[in-house]
Amino acid sequence: MKKSSWLDRHRSQIKEAKFSLFLVRRNLLILVGFITIGVMLGLAVFAPYITHYDPTDMQFSQRLQAPSASHILGTDDNGMDIFSRIIFGIRLDLIIAIAIVGVVAVFGTILGVFSGYHGGKLDELYMRTADIFMAFPYLLLAMAIAAVLGPSIFHSIIAISITWWPVYARLARGATLSVRERDFVEASRALGARDSYIIFRHILPNVIAPIMVQATLDMGNVILEAAALSFIGLGAQAPQPELGLMISIGRNFMRDYWWVATFPGLTILIMVLGFNLMGDGLRDLLDPKLRRSLV
Amino acid sequence: MTAPLLEVKHLKTYFYTYEGTVRALEDVSFHINRGEIFGLVGETGCGKSVTARSAMRLIEAPGKIVGGEILFKGRDLLSLSEDELQKIRGNQISMVFQDPMASLNPLMKIGNQVAEVLKIHKKVESGEKLRKRVVEILRMVRLPSPERIVENYPFELSGGMRQRVMIAMMVSTNPELLIADEPTTALDVSIQAQILSIIKSMKEKMDVSVWIITHDLGVIAETCDRLCVMYAGAVVECGNVHELFQNPLHPYTQGLLKAIPKAHEKAERLDTIPGSVPNLISPPSGCRFHPRCARAGRECSERGAEKVKITDTHFVSCRRYTEGNREQ
């Protein structure tokens, strides 16, 4: 009997990965989603190397120039190159989205799993609290925070996070309730496993799938909310390259200098669409029953 | 000798999946006579459900019926259009599935569901006549207080009662053939006995032929007149119920019968069939049972099984069959 090699140990996982790849290739929309996000990520990571313009560099002599060879997407009313601002805007918005979704998903999931697993009065308490937070309009909260602490990206992140975590708590709790009843959890208990062991080794890995799908879809939603807050002035402040802010600025020039608002708008559209397609695709890929029927 | 009601000839059904082509049915042939209860028995994966669904043309992608004929009263079902099939499905051939809860609409009252079947096939006009017919049918399957049950929803009934409602719905149109796919598998033994008794009485009262699909040889022994045994997508033996149980010839049939624990005698050990069911993407060459067969020879793997007629009713697909009476 020889020791198992790396290949032996991962053969099943490699098979599953290959199958996933096959499914993605077959489904055009999922593929488009993945590619779009991939491109966005690439742009975000390599932003400084793609453009030689500084996104906050104001050149008043160049203001409101139409798209041309030197400024691919034109310039805005401060003379800043729109293309660079968009690239850096993608980077900024992605960072904001990852920050929010990351924190909110982790926090909400852990709370939801504990709540769902233990049930009882504590569960009731957590869920009603979540309901309250969720019912709160994020706009009002953002305004309140901005009024007290001043408007900034960081404060808008706080406002959005506070109202967003209940989504994950709810989702995780629901998934936990169904996993909790499954035989293999009983079997673990029969073996003598403690609750914490069961939660981390059995419950969490089995509820991760819908959380991941939700997180992917939420990336798009969060970008929309963050952009909206910046649009009304509660988030990013000039001259930060934030897509919503750029639309807000460009709004005043829509008639004669349409490119200032349109390109940032299109970018947001593409990003959100990309995340939605990717999220839907992930849902299909991760659902075991759906996987088999997609063949 | 009257022509059979249903004749399946050389049926081939394949499933084209990512991992390869699953040859679910490879040259399946058998027939069902009028006025008999016919059993198709086999273990998981042998293709018995696929056969029934192929007969009803209910196979969907990635599956496809790639060959053969299914003659119902002389007409080949595989050549009919979808419109013509609609007239036959539910009307002349009805199918009862394993899980009645999944087949009943949870949001519709029982009475309405049964009535719907009658209305679709234009058997009875709506109104008082329809209502009376629905109650009559429910009474026929021995449901208690049918006048009250018509007002119930499926979740208010027990599993056994739901299965009876299914049967009622399926025989309401006076079909000539009733296909029952694992009708008693999810039910308690006592309820099973009731359902089988109802099926038998259906045959008497309504002159309907019944095709039962199951893995339970006990159910077959109790209810069927004739049966066929399937293994890995092929029919291995056919015969009337007495000759097959008393004189099974195919090694698989013999193995199966020996593996059943007998309720009426005590045993120390159960005989098992070595090996396991083959993968139908790359099935064994020739006779699909040969890797597990103690009597297999070169011709079995090279030339496959040969269909041999033992009596007018008893057929076996094997080159090396032998007499093998069950030990008493």
Binding site: M1, S4, P205, N206 | T44, A263, H264, E265, T272
Partner: protein
């Protein structure tokens, strides 16, 4: 030490599930799943627990393992006769009111050691190693996201019984003992057949060398030929490791093969218990007789008109008064609705809970299962 005493002794075990209702969620009624069960299971033997769905057999199995806590009653595990006598004496003292303080203390000590209903903490962990369970559906009993190696390592990991290096070797040894291979270590449950999965579940249950195994319909979801393999395996394992089984099933033909003693349950109560052969040859309770009669026999030569049980299985929420089976019993008389029959001896080791069994026996036209050759 003399080990010929029952491994498990159940005394009047009850499990009620509260039904909440009303605006404030008060408890309005109970589902009396297990309503006073007393049983003895001998060491190294198999007791079959038979009954229809809803009779409480699964709940009883889970209660014994403390997967759910009993509402009342005692479950004594591996208690030698002297300890049992002492506990009975002390319990009687408590009931009659003359127990002294040190008696109560002593009783608690004994309970903590032998009474599964009351153990907690470390003792419970220790006892968990000695009793395990195998479920009906092997696929849902295994975490779909874990490899076989992780699944089989779990018992060792939880009880810290093996080092990491030893784990792989130990697990491979386990796999090979039931005909599986090293290459199966890193595969996932969905890649296996039902029979293979059930073997893995059984391996997981015996990994830490338990004394007692609850088998809850372990072969009901399997094909006939696979069932035969698993049943043979269970018998072999029992001999090899001196295991004691509680075999829960609704399939009476399996009962005859696997068990030495059988108990029939109906709506939370035991209605008959006897050595298996005796039950098959001479079942006395109408429920047992009807169950035996209803079993489909794989022999068309033995077809017969069956006595069918009337009606459907009732729910254990509001069981019928007196004898619970009377609503489905052909022989029911007045006394059956006014007074609940208790288990009484009708033969060696043969207990029945029926007021009329003697008369039924005389008037029966045939024994439950027909003999071949008639």
């Amino acid at each position: 030490m003399n080990h010929h005493f029952p491994l498990l002794r159940l005394r009047n075990v009850k499990k009620y599930f509260p039904i909440k209702g009303g605006v404030f969620g008060k408890t309005i009624n109970f589902v009396k799943s297990v309503d006073g069960v007393s049983l003895d299971i001998d060491r190294g033997r198999t007791l079959a627990l038979v009954g229809e769905s809803g009779c409480g057999k699964t709940t009883l199995g889970r209660t014994i393992l403390r997967l759910t806590n009993p509402t009342a009653g005692d479950i004594y595990f591996d208690a030698p006769p002297q300890a049992m006598e002492e506990m009975d004496r002390l319990n009687q003292g408590v009931r009659d009111g003359y127990a002294r303080e040190e008696d109560v203390k002593r009783l608690r000590e004994l309970d903590d050691r032998y009474n599964l209903s009351s153990v907690t903490g470390k003792e419970q962990m220790r006892l968990r190693r000695r009793m395990q369970i195998v479920f009906q559906d092997p696929l849902s009993s295994l975490d779909p996201r874990m490899t076989i190696k992780q699944i089989l390592s779990e018992p060792f990991r939880i009880h810290q019984r093996a080092s990491r290096e030893e784990l792989e070797t130990t697990v491979i040894g386990l796999l090979e003992s039931v005909g599986l291979k090293q290459e199966h270590l890193y595969r996932y449950p969905h890649e296996f057949s039902g029979g293979q999965l059930q073997r893995i579940c059984i391996l997981r249950a015996i990994a830490l060398n338990p004394d007692f195994l609850v088998l809850d319909e372990p072969t009901s979801a399997l094909d006939v030929s696979v069932q035969a393999q698993i049943l043979n395996l269970l018998k072999d394992l029992q001999k090899e490791h001196e295991l004691t089984y509680l075999f829960i099933t609704h399939d009476l033909s399996v009962v005859r093969f696997i068990s030495t003693k059988a108990a029939v349950m109906y709506l939370g109560k035991i209605v008959e218990t006897a050595p298996t052969e005796e039950l098959f040859n001479n079942a006395l309770h109408p429920c047992a007789r009807l169950l035996l009669d209803a079993v489909p026999v794989a022999d068309p030569g033995l077809r017969r008109e069956k006595q069918l049980m009337e009606g459907d299985v009732p729910t254990p929420v509001d069981p019928p008064s007196g004898c619970r089976f009377r609503t489905r019993c052909r022989f029911a008389e007045d006394i059956c609705s006014t007074s609940e029959p208790l288990l009484e001896e009708a033969g060696t080791d043969h207990l029945v809970a029926c007021h009329l069994y003697g008369r039924i026996r005389e008037s029966a036209h045939q024994t439950p299962l027909p003999r071949p050759g008639l």
